[in-house]
Symmetry: C3
Subunit: 337 residues, 3 copies
């Protein structure tokens, strides 16, 4: 079951040059510190260069400069971190899935399932669903009626796709994620909330990844949109009618309120929060736990919050924060004396 490759095979897969023995075989991938002689490793971050002298790795993915200083077998290419990414799938531990519909799966008669698709144990495919070539749907996952999955989509275990969701080619949705549940729409009148039925959908592009237990709500009117190449980590909230631009990456715990539009190529660190109806410029960086309450028209790096400190010291400063406006006025008065 263990995958085994020669360095020349691997070099072909990532466009690297072999330094040393092209027939050397490796059957695993590990860090410089932990790799054994049968394993491949890599050096991407210069901070780890010191481990190169002592690593027991059978071969190392290196940039050209590091390769000159390394006597062992190596795969040499300009971007060793990219090389590591590209070769990592060779050592996947996931067993994959056989094409076909498992006998325990329940597929509605009106659904169209490509014969190359793999529909797993206890999966549910509702009416009018369309499933393209090489789609993989793992155990316990439900695909709601009238949803469309393009080629090579992979829905992991216990995913929920609600009705009328469109998912582009090669997109991966991780366990427990919920795509297309109702947006949070309510009108207050006569002392209570009246539900606004959410009649829009969700459109997810190609090459997107959605993390575990992340929620993407359907639009109130019109669609919620996740554009090509977006990366969403776990436990993220994407509210109704949000738009996430191409190749934006969002870390765990982020919440984006309704109708906010995040640009392309943004990077949003963990647990940041966005108010609704904002527009965030392409290429913006938002730091962890930042609270974004207004649109950001200009790319840049934005933050909020206080640093952390010992609680005793913090309590004193917090009291002063509460008095900050008054303190500023007192300084003003002193200046005027």
């Amino acid at each position: 079951m263990t995958a085994q490759y020669t360095l020349s095979e691997l070099a072909q897969k990532c466009g690297a040059r072999v330094q040393g023995d092209p027939d050397r075989q490796v059957s695993g991938l590990n860090t410089l510190q932990d790799a054994q002689s049968h394993e491949l490793s890599f050096l991407a971050n210069p901070a780890y260069a010191r481990y190169l002298a002592t690593t027991r790795a059978g071969a190392v993915i290196l940039g050209p400069e590091a390769a000159e200083l390394y006597a062992g077998d190596a795969l040499v290419l300009a971007n060793p971190y990219l090389g590591y990414a590209q070769l990592s799938s060779c050592f996947a531990t996931d067993r994959g899935a056989a094409a076909g519909v498992h006998p325990s799966a329940v597929v509605d008669a009106s659904a169209i399932v490509h014969p190359s698709a793999a529909i797993g144990v206890n999966a549910v495919i509702e009416a009018g669903v369309s499933i393209a070539a090489n789609v993989r749907i793992d155990a316990g996952t439900v695909v709601g009626h009238d949803s469309v999955l393009d080629a090579d989509v992979h829905l992991h275990r216990n995913v929920t796709i609600c009705h009328g969701v469109t998912i582009g080619a090669r997109t991966v949705i991780h366990c427990g994620a919920v795509i297309g549940s109702d947006g949070f729409g309510n009108a207050y009148a006569d002392g209570r909330w009246h539900k606004i039925t959410q009649i829009g959908g969700v459109v997810i592009g190609c090459d997107v990844e959605v993390g575990s237990n992340t929620c993407i709500d359907r639009g109130a009117l019109g669609d919620t949109e996740i554009h090509d190449g977006v990366r969403l980590d776990n436990l993220i909230q994407i509210a109704h009618n949000v738009i996430i631009g191409e190749n934006t990456a969002i870390a765990s715990g982020v919440g984006i309120s309704g109708s906010t539009r995040i640009g392309k190529n943004c990077t949003i660190a963990g647990a940041a929060g966005f108010a609704g109806h904002l527009t965030i410029a392409d290429g913006t960086f938002i730091s962890g736990m930042a609270m974004i309450t207004r649109s950001i028209p200009k790319a840049g790096s934005y933050s909020s919050g206080t640093g952390f400190m010992e609680s005793r010291e913090w309590r004193r400063n917090v009291v002063r924060f509460r008095q900050l406006d008054e303190l500023a006025r007192r300084v003003r008065k002193l200046e005027q004396r």
Copy 2:
């Protein structure tokens, strides 16, 4: 499959007056900007009034003043946003569910299921469960033993209801939500944690809505309570023995610690956090990401956190926050000179 209504039919449903042609037919609902001639639209927020002149909508839901300025077909009523809410369900895209138990569902022999209820694909109904008229349970959902679902409850796909949970009429639980899991109760002794078995339950009232992947824990002793008309968005944490008062609305990502009691008619914005054992007054507004560490005896609007700013500027201010108490003392000294 497309729903189609005349304006007079719709006017009856929401108590509006028809302006123009009562026999005009509409078969969809959309924003003023995007509506086509077969679609209904609405104007609720004055900021969008400028779109009224150019909309292609077949008819528009309007307040009396806007209606006077509008030459096209309209449904006129005092609160057009409420009219939109009330008519939105006419255009639902959800296919609904047929009454009866799907052959793949597993219903324990001791459960009582009303014949008008719809039990979906691979749903699980455990021992002693009671399911009233017109309940709808979607695919993959599990209802734990001895739970009680009142009439017209709708559990979406892959919901988990643990044992001994009570859910009132017309309440809707969205995908992936977990109701009645153990509260986080542990006693520390002899260098380790000892589990406190959570023997209380969860009681959810009528007309409640619970969002995707939200968690409501069962009580340690006595129940966790969600009162009538409460609206909970996605990914919310409701700890053991929390009480949420009637018609309170809570946005995504909020966490409420054990035994805290939130009043009626509160509005809590996204990702706010509440310490345990607090009491929050009826009608309180809490802003996004606010950290509530003490009880709030008086209704009002409460906030915490710093605004966001460019990271470079933020870093300088954060350093000063750390020195804030010292700065205040220095100002005091200057004043005393």
Copy 3:
């Protein structure tokens, strides 16, 4: 069905001394305020001592000093909160599960399932899984291929265990939790993200508890580790290659970024966030919503954020926070005059 115990039976279970009638029977457990005459109660927090005079409880778990002042039947031991924890399981409302594989469960032929294990309705056990004695797997739960569950593990309803996950004896995983999903690993090159296949695993120790909808990602290379006795609440994010030391307790909504190492016996309050690659000392306390951006080499109590206040007052102070560095410079100037 109701459990009933004499005080002498209960005293044996928790090492208490009976004060009063050892044959007194109790069939429930409740707070001092709510207990009826057939119920046991407890006094652990001195703040509730005033309820002792008026409680209707049939018997009370007490410390030695409180017992001297109490005339009723009691179980007396040094740590009454621990006594409560130890006796709470006697009054569990959960019906338990019968040994054996439910006919609707799908167990791969290559899986090894101990005959004393209980595999619930619609549960899925994939290839190569190993399930030890007295394991309990509830309805709708999926165990991915090659995972190993040690004795007395309990997976609640709709849990997802991905492939190659190891779970130690007596560990409990609550509904909707996802263990072993992919870490968030991507390399940016050529204007897009390249997936880094996550080939590490997850190793969870003994006597661990994992809350509902919590996510623990598998390692990129090497394992994510949750050590013995750890307690994780709901909706927590544990990223790839995080290590959580023994007996650390983490409240709901916390996020821990990749490769961060949390020490033993730490207590982390709700919604705190940790950057990646940090090391946190054993015994550290982190307060709610704190933002931890650097390693903490010394145990202590750490906090961040501002207190909450009325929004109007808050807005004024927030403006001043933005000017804090400038304010500090102005004070400096005044001092130099």
